[in-house]
């Protein structure tokens, strides 16, 4: 209730999905729709003002995604945001400082490194499928049962750092499944493909107060 009041005083509501052409966003918007979360597309800086929450989706190649994001001209405006921002998969990786994928500098909102899985650890790449996420007591994971699995599909991961980690996962090594710094959040898994728990997480994000 409190959140709703706050949003209405701000005159903005719902989730803005940054539409920068990195992968398909149909599944994400479908999941938002199933959760009755209002949403719209963010194409311009002015669009960023229209919504109380922002999601940066993304699949594919980090350096290609970064290039596309830069082309939108939204980089500085995104970095300056004070409202809740959620990066998903490659969208999460964009929040970090640097990715080994294409050896590219990213938004550097969260000072972490995105690294390639080490084949020598005897794991298959990509990390594909449902893996158990070990999360902390955090609003994003509210009402998600302990030991819940989420759906991952990626070849690069974000190094584990207890300062920014809010959930970790093991595959070859322990890395971050979810991170946070201030109003910026990121999840490596795909909540829009992670069954009911994933939908719950999207709902939780949309309920975070600005």
């Amino acid at each position: 209730m409190k959140d709703n009041d706050k949003k209405s005083t701000l005159g903005v509501l719902g989730v803005g999905v940054v539409n920068y052409g990195a992968g398909n966003i149909f599944s994400l918007t479908a999941a938002l729709e199933r959760q009755n979360i209002a949403f719209g597309m963010v194409n311009t800086e002015a669009d960023l003002e229209k919504y109380s929450h922002i999601i940066i989706p993304g699949v594919g190649h980090a350096s290609a995604a970064m290039k596309k994001l830069a082309q939108t001209g939204l980089v500085n405006a995104i970095k300056a945001l004070k409202k809740p921002v959620l990066g998903i998969c490659v969208g999460m990786q964009l929040l970090t400082q640097h990715s080994e994928e294409g050896n590219v500098n990213l938004l550097n909102i969260i000072p972490l490194q995105t690294k390639l899985f080490d084949k020598n650890l005897g794991i298959k790449i990509p990390h594909m499928g449902w893996n158990t996420v070990d999360f902390k007591n955090h609003l994003l994971f509210e009402n998600v049962a302990e030991g819940t699995q989420f759906y991952f599909v990626h070849s690069y991961f974000i190094e584990y750092n207890p300062i920014f980690d809010i959930a970790s996962v093991n595959y070859g090594n322990k890395f971050s499944a979810a991170i946070q710094k201030d109003n910026f959040y990121g999840v490596q898994f795909h909540p829009e493909k992670s069954g009911e728990a994933g939908e719950r997480l999207l709902k939780n994000f949309s309920n975070l107060s600005s």
Partner: protein
């Protein structure tokens, strides 16, 4: 721990699922959306839809179906059948498909694998391989096993991995339909060779076969059609059985 995936495969013709499906409580067993939702509710980890008509003219029907499925389904799904160019793949991606499965088109034009991986990422590209044991060799077949190629299965899969396939869906034609179990020898061999996930297919008849394939081969997922459609194996029971055998599975 990464779970082993259980994947029902649905055959689709003109946007409708075919083959006997005997779920109770389903008003329309041919509706792919209703079926997909039912499987998701039962705890399937992923779904594969195979377009068995897959002609160019009917592509539109398929795209509409994919959109409806993506609107409803909260687990990943793969679309296969008749995908031969980037434009086909892109249309499916934009309609909400998580992965596409290619088969004949990749054999005819291996470059397609690389092009798809470059455009959409390796995670989007599943290479389906139908293989048959002939004179001591494993040989790739096309058109549901009716057409023999000159490719040896092992070298074709290795090459596909190098080109950028993100996952292999390996169907043993010798085991498919027999209900005598998966081809564990071949699957174990291929699994040793490559470093991308493998979906085992062909031969599932009872729950023990799933336990066996995960214990003996190291594959990442197992796919089946009729045992699920006819209700011979129920996914919740299968998950329980696998768990009892210490195989990591997802509890939905």
């Amino acid at each position: 721990m990464l779970s082993k995936r259980i994947i029902p495969c649905l055959d689709v013709k003109d946007g409708r699922t075919v083959k006997g499906i005997n779920f109770v409580d389903l008003r329309d067993a041919g509706d792919p959306v209703a079926l997909a939702a039912q499987y998701a509710a039962q705890g399937a980890d992923e779904l594969v839809f195979l377009d068995i008509t897959a002609t160019h003219e009917r592509r539109k029907t398929m795209i509409e179906m994919v959109k409806s499925v993506a609107r409803q389904l909260n687990i990943p799904f793969t679309i296969g059948g008749g995908i031969s160019e980037i434009a086909d793949a892109e249309a499916l991606l934009n309609a909400g498909a998580d992965k596409i499965s290619i088969n004949s088109a990749a054999v005819k034009n291996p470059q397609l694998i690389e092009d798809l991986a470059k455009n959409f990422g390796v995670q989007f590209v599943v290479l389906a391989v139908d293989t048959k044991h002939i004179n001591g060799k494993n040989i790739v077949h096309l058109n549901g096993g009716r057409l023999i190629t000159e490719l040896e299965t092992e070298s074709w899969i290795k090459r596909a991995e190098d080109l950028g396939a993100g996952e292999i869906l390996l169907t043993s034609m010798d085991h498919d339909g027999t209900k005598q179990g998966f081809d564990c020898n071949l699957l174990a061999k291929i699994n040793q060779m490559i470093n991308i996930p493998i979906i085992a297919s062909g031969g599932a008849g009872k729950m023990e076969h799933f336990t066996e394939v995960f214990q003996k081969t190291g594959v990442d997922a197992a796919l089946a059609a009729s045992v699920f459609h006819y209700g011979e194996i129920l996914i919740p029971n299968l998950k329980q059985e696998l768990k009892r055998n210490n195989i990591p599975v997802r509890n939905p």
